[in-house]
Subunit: 343 residues, 2 copies
C-alpha cells in the first residue's frame, strides 16, 4: 500500500529527514519556502508517517484510552464518536476498554492494558470517575486522564462536566408550568454524583416553587428498567398518588410506562412521565418519553481535546474544566394535569 517513507520525501525535496520531521510535527523554524515544497511532496506522494516508528522513537504511543462501564450502548457509541473526533483531529489513535468497575481485578487488568498499549492518556466516565483507587493508580503511574462526569464538588482532576442539578430543575419547571404539584421522583444508584445531583435538582425546584417536600413521593431505583417499574408501582399505589413521575434515567422511565400500563393509568392523561438522558429508547416507546438530552458526544470530544492538549507541551495549557449544557426534550408522555387531549 503506502510505502513512502520520510527519507523518500526528504530525498525528493533535497533536504534532510530531520527537516521533513519538523514539517510533519508543525515545529517552527522551517523556512516557508522549504515548508511549502515539502508539503507539496507529501501530498503528491501521499506520504503518511509510520506511527510505530514515531511511537518507538518518541517514547509515546500516540494512543488515547477510553474506559467505560455503562449499560447503555447508546451512551458508549456516543462517547466513542466524540473521542474519535478529537483523536482524528490530532493524529491520535483510540483504544477502547469496556470494563467492570466492580471487578476486583480491575486495576490488574488496567495495568496490563496500559503496559501493553503504552497509551499516553485516558478518558474516564462514571462510575469509573468515582473510583479513588483507579484515579490514584493513574496518578502514581503518571498517566494523564480527563474525567467526564456530573460536577458535584471541587475536583482535583481535569474534568468535562454537565450540570445535572439545573437539568433536573428544568424538567421540574416544565412540570410545574403544566400544573403538576404532586411530582414523584425515582432515584438512581446511590452515591453516584449524577444520582445525587438530579435529586438535588428535584428538591431545589420544589423549594423554589414553594412546594413542601414529601418523602413518600421519592422512591429508590438503580437505573434499571425493573427498578423503575417497581418504584412506579409503589408511587402509584399511594393514597394520594403523584400526577407526574420524574425518573432519574430513561430506562427507569420506561419501567414507569410499563407499570402505568399494568395499572391501567393512561399516560399522559392521568400521569405525566419524564426521564433523563434521551436514550434512543425514549423515541421508541409508546407514548414517546419527555427527557433531558445528555450531550455525551460533545462532552467526549471536549474531553479528548483537553487530554491531548495536556499531552502536547507546545499547545496552550489545559482548561481546568468545561461545562456543556443539557437540553430538555418534550415528547408525548407529558401533558397538563388532567389533560383532555384527543385520543
Amino acid at each position: 500500500m503506502n510505502t513512502v517513507t520520510m527519507q523518500d520525501v526528504a530525498n525528493l525535496a533535497g533536504v534532510s529527514n530531520k527537516t521533513v520531521s519538523r514539517v510533519i510535527n508543525n515545529e517552527p523554524s522551517v523556512s516557508p519556502a522549504t515548508r511549502d515544497k515539502i508539503n507539496k511532496i507529501i501530498k503528491e506522494t501521499n506520504f503518511q508517517p509510520n506511527k510505530s516508528a514515531q511511537s518507538l522513537a518518541a517514547h509515546r504511543s500516540l494512543l488515547l484510552g477510553l474506559l467505560y462501564d455503562n449499560p447503555s450502548s447508546a451512551y458508549i457509541t456516543g462517547l466513542q464518536e466524540g473521542v474519535l473526533k478529537a483523536c482524528d483531529n490530532f493524529g491520535y489513535g483510540l483504544v477502547i476498554h469496556p470494563c467492570d468497575h466492580k471487578d476486583s481485578d480491575l486495576l490488574q487488568n488496567l495495568r496490563q492494558l496500559i503496559g501493553s498499549t503504552r497509551m499516553d492518556g485516558l478518558v474516564l466516565t462514571p462510575p469509573l470517575t468515582e473510583n479513588k483507587a483507579l484515579l490514584d493508580f493513574l496518578d502514581e503511574n503518571n498517566k494523564p486522564h480527563v474525567l467526564i462526569s456530573p460536577l458535584d464538588q471541587v475536583q482535583s482532576n481535569p474534568l468535562v462536566f454537565t450540570d445535572d442539578v439545573s437539568a433536573a430543575k428544568q424538567v421540574m419547571q416544565f412540570l410545574f408550568d403544566h400544573g403538576h404539584k404532586r411530582i414523584g421522583f425515582i432515584q438512581g444508584v446511590r452515591q453516584r454524583s449524577g444520582t445525587e445531583m438530579r435529586y438535588q435538582g428535584y428538591k431545589q425546584a420544589l423549594e423554589d416553587n414553594g412546594i413542601v417536600f414529601d418523602k413518600d413521593l421519592v422512591a429508590p431505583g438503580d437505573f434499571t428498567f425493573e427498578s423503575g417499574e417497581l418504584a412506579a408501582q409503589q408511587l402509584l399505589r399511594l393514597d394520594k398518588p403523584p400526577s407526574a413521575i420524574f425518573a432519574s434515567n430513561d430506562y427507569m422511565a420506561a419501567g414507569v410506562l410499563k407499570a402505568a400500563s399494568q395499572l391501567r393509568i393512561p399516560v399522559p392523561y392521568e400521569l405525566s412521565v419524564c426521564g433523563f438522558d434521551d436514550n434512543p429508547v425514549a423515541r421508541f416507546l409508546t407514548p414517546t418519553l419527555t427527557t433531558v438530552q445528555h450531550p455525551v458526544t460533545m462532552l467526549a470530544e471536549s474531553a479528548g481535546e483537553l487530554l491531548i492538549r495536556q499531552l502536547k507541551k507546545h499547545l496552550e495549557p489545559p482548561h481546568k474544566a468545561s461545562d456543556i449544557h443539557s437540553e430538555l426534550i418534550v415528547r408525548e408522555s407529558t401533558g397538563p394535569v388532567n389533560s383532555q387531549f384527543e385520543a
Copy 2:
C-alpha cells in the same frame, strides 16, 4: 511504568534477545529449560513487549480494523465486544471505524485510515459487506478481511454468517403454532441480504404450512421505527387485517406497537407482534417484544479469530466460513389468536 525491555530479560536469563523473541512469539526450537527460565523472568519482571517496536521491525501493525455503519448502538457494542475478545486472545489491538456507506468519500477515507494505522486486516459488517467497490479496494491493496453477514449466496470472501431464512421460519412456526393464519410481514431495506432472507423465510414458512401467499399482507419498510409505524397502519387497515405482524427488525416492530396503540388494537389480545434482532428496546417496550436473538458478539468473536488465523501463517489455515445460530425469544407481545389472557 513498565520499562523492562527484551534485552533486560535476555541479560537476566543469560541468553541473546533473539531467544527471548522466540519464546514471546511461541516459536519452536527453544529448549524447554531455556523456555521455562525465560518465562519465569518475564513473569517476575512483568515484561511486556513494546508493540511499536514489534510493528516496526515486523512490518505489521498487530492491529485489526472494525468497520461498521449501523444505526443500532447495541449492535455496535456487541460487535466490538466480540472482536475485542478475539484481539485480546491473540495480542492484537483494535481500531474501530464508524463510517457512512453512502458517503462518496468512503474509499478515500478508508485509504487514509489504512495508510495511517497500517491495520493488518479488517472485519466488515452489513451494509459494507455488500459494497463491491470497497471489497475490491481491499483486495487490490492486499488487506485480508472477514465479513459478518447473512449468507444468501456463495461468497468469495471468508465469512461468518447467520441463517436468517431459518430464523425467520422459526418465528413463523411459532405464530402458526398459536393459531395465526393471516400473518403480516414488514420488509427491510431492499437489496440487503438480511432483508431478502427474512422475506424468503416468511414465504417458505407459508408454503410449508399450506397457506397461500397474499401480497397484501406484505408492507415495505426501511428498518426505521417510523417505517414500521406506517407499514402497520397500512396492514391494520386492510379489510381483512392480519392477526399477527412479523417485522424484519425490532425498531419497526416498536413502530407496529405504536400504530396498534393509536388504532386502539390491544397487543397481544387482538394482534401479536414479532421483531428480529433482540435489540434492548425489545425488553423496554410495553408489552415486551417477541424477537430473534442475533448472536452478534459470538459472530464478531469468530470473525476476529478467523481473520487472525489468516494473518498468522503458523496457525492452521482459515475455515472458509462458520454458521452461528439465532434463537427465538418469546415475550409478551405474542399470544394465541384471540387470546383471553387475564389483564
